[in-house]
Amino acid sequence: MRRHLGLWLYLAFSLVVLAICHYQALTAYAQLVLMFIGINIILSSSLNLINGYMGEFSCGHAGFMAVGAYVSSILNVWLFTSHKVFGPPVLSPSSAVYLFPVTLLAGACAAALAGLLVAFPSFRTRGDYLAIITLAVNYIVKSSVENIQVIGGARGFMGMRKVIEEMEAVWRIPWIMLWILVFTGLTVWVLHRFVSSSYGKGIVAIRDDEIAAEIMGVDTRRMKVAAFMLSSGMAGLAGGLFAHILGYINPGTFTIMKSTEVMVMVYLGGMGSLSGSVLSAVVFTLILEVLRPLQVIKWVVIPLLLILLMLLRPEGIMGNRELTDVFPGLRRWFSAPKGT
């Protein structure tokens, strides 16, 4: 029991959240904020793998999010609803209940493949030059989507709401919240296992000294492909979930602004700290909402807060540490899984 305490606690938390949502004990707005927190946790912790653990500077995370969002949305609309372009549903609409996670993962796989667009150049370039490439990939994705008229082009794509309605017609539970809870937990869990294994620490060796890593037996190319695909796949997952919250996406959502927002969360939380990324995603989403009454001034206040943070605590909330390093007492309860 104690070994999996974190898992049990998360399960309990998820059940409570689902129950609250199911009985409408929370306003729709509060539910929405909760969902965005989940999405932001996926985005920031997955980007931390590249920018924190591997020490590269990826600023195109929103591009991969867009790939996941579009692929899973199109699949769902095509398979389960009647659409003016894609025609009548291919499968029975009620099967969306079982197949929703499958299409979501298909979106994630597509995003992981898009991650190769960055992974291959990363064999030869790194640092600032690779950052430019990630920026370019972000633009390539956005412009491609804008120019494919079948999926709405710049006007955006909708119809995902109907998929959720079909799912709710079968069984009336808060589906989107359910899947966000599942995949947020899964992302953090997978990343935690990855970075705490000798295999995953290979990417930290690349950050510290890439030449030494390659010469001392780390297949740096394979590790880069693994890291970029894992990270962009998870961004795609976040994108797919994001698309189904509002039921509408357009390319303008997935610009460099969105990528920057994710980067801010990573640096706020601390590079190379998974618990930092989770914490900062929660804090950042809440700050955005708390400052909403300020309207436009919000975008003056938030950058100002960032400048202050960088001046006073440049390593972010957690620095390079995890929660278990700050409070060693936690280790008794949440032992970092080790091979021993």
Binding site: Y199, K201, D208, I211, M216, D219, A226, L230, G339
Partner: protein, 258 residues
Amino acid sequence: MALLEIRKLTHYFGGLRAVANFNLRLEGGELLGLIGPNGAGKTTVFNLVCGFYKPTEGEILFQEKDIAGLRPHAVTAMGVARTFQNIRLWNTLTVFDNLCIAQHFRLGYGLADVILRTGRFTTRERHVRRTAEELLEIMGLRHYAGEHPGNLPYGMQRRLEIARALATQPKLLLLDEPAAGMNPGEIDQLVETIRWIRESFALTVWLIEHHMRVVMSVCERVQVLDFGETIADGPPEAIKRDPRVIQAYLGSEELSHA
């Protein structure tokens, strides 16, 4: 079967010839020194052997397989490990993790095993950790297991680099100026260590060194490079008296006072 055979190795950096017609045959078990003035091409030879550069011409046969042009991690996997002239440890990882990651190429599990935490992952990871612990013990680094390498005394960092190379379970160990920056006490300890690991790990050691005390007391055979060319090859006593070597080192009195 020769452990390492290098034939007519030549390497150019643009128009500059760094290594010219370098030949070597190691049967296995030797302790070979590579010396020469600064810029003679010694480190380039090491970089060629470990796969960091692809040679312009020539063959590098390790256990009769051509390794010229293989990527470095693949060469390491075949049994060639090295240390670096300027220490290159992974400084944000612990000393213990440094030794674990050096076994990366033979972890024997993949991404799926990591995520699902399969039985293979658990047994292999346990094996990796045990190997690292053993090395900490025998190299006298146990005390520093949880430290970051940058906080270690200089001599200990050098030791850790050797331990990390040993973690790859090499057949051939390349040491690039292992005594650089060490004080006399540390050098004596290093000489002992080199002799000892060669015996206990049944290794072939090939080292570049400027400290003649180390070269003369440790090596059984010494090769001298100057401007990329081999100018002498033989036992240390003969090398000391070789007129061409003295010529190459003229102005530096290291040799005659060694």
